[in-house]
């Protein structure tokens, strides 16, 4: 799958508390989560994000709480993919489990500015910056995780196994 989107760029250690503050966790409704996504880091995000946009973060993206509401909020906000230098481990597995595409690619992060357009090839694991024309290779997922991704998330993967 090939994705193209405008970049929202953030720094290191973007934690799940700023991705979706706890005060909104009394509901897991998609509209609630999307409306408050990134609110405590970037108040304009929810009003400016468009379907297919891409979040680019630094190191340890999604650190802190295990709340799956964080990758869900990003997904429900319409974000197509998150590219970061590294991901916190629970956010990483949550994203794979719910089918939010994520890529670890430090070089692409460093060469990307807010507002750039990226083209992400999920099958090849490449990130192309359409402003500069540079292409970067992301770390490939282990085979087991590729299966979960191909099945559309952990629940569909489990259903297949239980049959």
């Amino acid at each position: 799958m090939i994705l193209q989107g405008k970049v929202f760029k953030y720094g290191d250690n973007v934690d799940t508390d700023v991705i979706i503050p706890a005060r909104y966790l009394n509901s897991s409704e998609p509209a609630n989560l999307a409306a408050h996504c990134m609110e405590d880091l970037d108040q304009d995000f929810a009003s400016q994000v468009e379907k297919g946009d891409i979040i680019v973060g630094g190191k340890n993206f999604g650190s802190g709480s295990s709340r799956e509401h964080a990758p869900l909020a990003i997904k429900y906000a319409g974000v197509a993919c998150v590219v970061a230098e590294s991901f916190a481990r629970i956010f990483y597995r949550n994203s794979i489990n719910i089918g939010l595409p994520i890529l670890e690619c430090p070089a692409a992060v460093q060469a990307t500015q807010a507002g750039d357009k990226l083209e992400v090839n999920l099958d090849q694991g490449t990130v192309k910056n359409l402003r500069t024309g540079e292409t970067f290779e992301a770390a490939p997922f282990p085979e087991f995780m590729q299966e979960i991704i191909a099945d559309g998330g952990l629940i569909e993967h489990i259903k297949k196994e239980l049959v």
């Binding site: 508390d17 503050p21 405590d40 295990s66 799956e68 719910i98 239980l162």
Partner: protein, 421 residues
Amino acid sequence: MGMTMIEKILAAHTDQTELQAGDIVNARVDMVLGNDITTPVAIKEFNKIGVETVFDKDRVVIVPDHFSPSKDIKAAEQIKFIREFARQHELSNFFEIGQMGIEHVLLPEKGLALPGEIIIGADSHTCTYGALGALGTGVGSTDMAAAMATGKAWFKVPPTIKIVYTGELQPWVSGKDLILYTIGKIGVDGALYKAMEFTGEAISNLSMDGRMTMSNMAIEAGGKAGLIAADQKTEDYLKGRAVRDYTIYNADSDAVYEEVIEIDVSQIEPQVAFPSLPENTKGISQAGEVKLDQSVIGSCTNGRIEDLRVAAKILEGKKVHSDLRCLIFPGTQAIYKQAMAEGLMDIFIDAGAAVSTPTCGPCLGGHMGILAKGEKAVSTTNRNFVGRMGSTESEVYLASPAVAAASAIKGYLVAPEEVVK
């Protein structure tokens, strides 16, 4: 080749005899945990799988502790939803308000997290059970759903950092100070995708409560687990609590570690993590004058009886500063009762502190102690992120119960010995 604790525990839950870092396994889990925020999402996912019921009604634990007692109508609906699920599937470990405690204080107390076990929880501080020699690790709601259905979860076997704590603790220095110091040293992603083993004489000498505080914050260094080998203290703690037999796994002497770090604890003074990352640690002597509006003592990190005893020792016969609110949250009903029996509640109330029923409330900015714009709090909790406890323009300083209690009296960050001579 020798194996680390986590490699041994994971291997024991698969059909493999040997594992090493990087392997991916689908392992049996002994316990699956969720709270009132994460379980509703897990139930919705569970219902999509199409199994009739959970893999084992005694091995799913649900603790409504975050927004409870229900803070608003939506929170009440979420708790009602999980309560009905627990009834429908006849779960033996749903803890209703009144029985409920803060999950990571409650499970060890009830003997539901045991050495050698794998406990996954849809709560990041599930790593607390590492203090019992268990692989406790945080996951999300979908992992919880899958494990409720199948009794299994996928894991990538992580490399381990071994941290050896030598020497004797200075007065008023606790497990909280050791873990804050460690996070300050290795950083908030210092153990990312890795496990930690906490070892050495200072760990052997630490109480179970102190060990649980340390393992609790392994996640604040990015860790998958913070393991401490079970010893006689662990076994004594579990006597009369453990709901099942258990097996103790120790690391092999030739286990392969990614890194070994030595820390001389005699050089460590009480620590404070400044906003807005747990790695921003300083010794209390370097804190400068930070005027405070609130002091929070409790949580899954520091809501155990030893924590309350330390706070009471400092607050006894003194008054909370008139410019500050001091809020105390015992971790469970049993701890609450024990504190009453020991006269600690009298000390807190006479000092002008407010004592609450167990809840995670203020730690995550949920309820029961939210900060206004410009306010500053010292807190024995585990995170000091932007907006964690309320306004994005409030600040949280993480510290031990001793520092939080002493600072509550003075109204600013202060070393315990400046209050108790």
